[in-house]
């Protein structure tokens, strides 16, 4: 970004992002649908709809049910499949000069390996977000991937297949999301996304059945923000790799909360359904917020609430410096080990 104000750039492993605002997988199509509404090249990155080896039809109606402050969805990973993603969707996204993060999903580690073998060295893909957390499929969903050893081994197999960033997207519906994040880090992930949707349910009392085609769905939107924020905080304290915060971010203030608890970057998801230009607004308002408070860079803001007892009030510069120092200490420890 050439505009003035705070330096918003951020690194996710090998991937340099101009700013920390990404759009969440499944909420922005393949990137071109909203291209006439906002400049997708100005965003930190576009995370595509999850791609699987074969096309998937997705789940039958109903796929959407609005609940108090949230949306339940049961899409079921509907997507065009690897071949059409490569031949049709990727070229369009490249032409828009977006920073592309391809979301990939598989029912087994082998499927993910085959996807990365096919796409790992594809020009223009800056990163891969591995969808380890879909709540709406019978196989290869959040439950299947909620095993630390499975995550670690799978990522270790994926790691050599690409030089692009490897990001693991985690489910919040687990005993310890921090344990999964640590496993991803050990497997070689460059970052983790915390978190995907929460499993939820709603009943139609007139029809006496679920308001979705399947019994449950994934809950997103403002309803989950405090829950997601706590998971993000937990993960940020547990790993050294960058954490990408996600869950109910509707505006810049929400985004800055995630960054204050340690997120290196954030994802705007459900907000794009309501305002297609939401991600661009988050970015503009974030810049304005930081400028108004005199922050020269986002790095100074990031993690300002990560240490217990540290408040963002009154620009606690010392506290901000605490975070990199602690990280350096950890790195030294890691080298010794």
């Amino acid at each position: 970004m050439s505009r003035g104000g705070a330096d918003l750039s951020v690194r996710i492993g090998p991937l340099a992002l101009a700013n920390p605002v990404l759009v969440a997988s499944g909420t922005f199509g393949y990137g071109d649908e909203y291209a006439h509404v906002l400049d997708v090249s100005a965003l930190g990155g576009v995370i595509t709809k999850t791609v699987t080896l074969e096309p998937r039809a997705g789940n039958p109606a109903q796929r959407i049910a609005e609940t108090a402050g949230g949306i339940l969805n049961s899409i079921g990973l509907e997507n065009v499949g690897l071949a059409r993603f490569r031949s049709e969707k990727l070229p369009k996204l490249r032409a828009l000069r977006a920073t592309i993060v391809a979301s990939v999903g598989g029912e087994t580690p082998d499927e993910l390996v085959r996807l990365l073998e096919a796409l790992g060295r594809e020009r223009g893909i800056g990163g891969f977000e591995i969808n380890f957390s879909c709540p709406n499929v019978a196989r290869g969903g959040a439950r299947y991937w909620a095993l630390p050893r499975r995550l670690e081994r799978t990522l270790a197999r994926l790691r050599p297949l690409t030089r692009a960033a490897l990001i693991a997207k985690l489910s919040p519906d687990v005993t310890s999301v921090a344990d999964l994040a640590i496993a991803c880090e050990q497997g070689g992930a460059d970052a983790v996304t915390a978190v995907n949707t929460f499993v939820g349910m709603a009943v139609d009392l007139d029809a006496m059945r679920s308001r979705l085609g399947r019994a449950t769905g994934g809950l997103s939107g403002p309803a989950i923000k405090p829950l997601a924020l706590a998971r993000c905080h937990e993960v940020a304290r547990a790993v050294r790799i960058p954490v990408i915060g996600s869950g109910g971010i509707m505006d810049a203030r929400d985004a800055l909360e995630f960054m204050a608890v340690g997120a290196a970057a954030i994802q705007v998801g459900t907000a794009s359904f309501i305002h297609p230009g939401a991600a661009a607004a988050v970015l503009d308002d974030m810049r304005e917020f930081l400028a108004a408070r005199g922050f020269a860079s986002l790095a100074a803001w990031r993690g300002s609430l990560l240490e217990p007892g540290v408040s963002a009030q009154g620009l606690p510069r010392a506290a901000h410096r605490e975070v990199p120092r602690r990280r350096a200490a950890r790195r030294r420890l890691a080298r010794r080990a």
């Binding site: 649908e33 039809a57 997705g58 789940n59 109606a61 509907e78 403002p222 309501i274 297609p276 230009g277």
Partner: protein, 296 residues
Amino acid sequence: MIAPAAEWIQTRARVRAQMDAGSGHQWLELVVPQDFVAPEPGQFVQLLIESPSPVLLPRPMSVASVRERPEGLTLGFLYAPVGAGTRGLTRLTAGEAVEILGPLGRGYPLDQPGTPVLVAGGRGVAPLIFAAQELARHGASHAPRRSEFVFGARDERHLVGLDEARRELDAVGGRLHVCTDDGSQGLRGNVIAALDALEPRLEGTPVIHACGPHAMLKAVARWALERRFSAYLAMESVMACGTGVCRGCPLPRSAARRAAFDASATPSLWGNREYAMCCTEGPVFEAGDLDWEHVE
């Protein structure tokens, strides 16, 4: 089929009027800014009450009228406040602002050669009032085509929008065929009974444009398919985005129109199905597009 508007926008519209349309229905009129593309009959918009809104998502609303007025392009909506979102819309009063995103989806191909037969069920009449308006408008410049309008409802009270439909039809010399389940007005029976009665009197090949409950649309689609008549049905779905991004409004595609999915090769939890999105491929579908057996 009419191509979807390439460039929908999200902007602010101003409420011009809101009034009681009878039997629990409302008529809402919005003035949209100049850069808002005029919708085609059958297309829809997403309406979002400005903060604080009682609901999170915008609500998809079929356009019932488009008029050029001195204050700008005016869109009319006929709706029933059945949920929190639509109840919220009833509280909008003249002069207030509302966010509008559109126009969205594909409309009715009214330029198809043949006799337009508009078939409405209950408040599904909304896009067909607009279709009749559009036929009347074109009738002024082109050779007018006689059109038929079949309007069915539970009872007399639920023939909401009948006067508007009649007014538009008079302008184009169209004929109105009313039917009610209880016989309180017009023919006693449903729209299929009315279509059966109309069939021998049709001039030329009919092209059906319909909107109503899915059960009615299923019956109309089958009626037309049996006779090899063209039929275009405006479908309904719960939606999130309305723009094709969320994949939230699936309708089962007919076997003949499946493309991406090889029945033998595509594993799917729900059998080998393929879905069309109501928002971008519809809401108006050709009868042969959908697998009516599995339309809910």
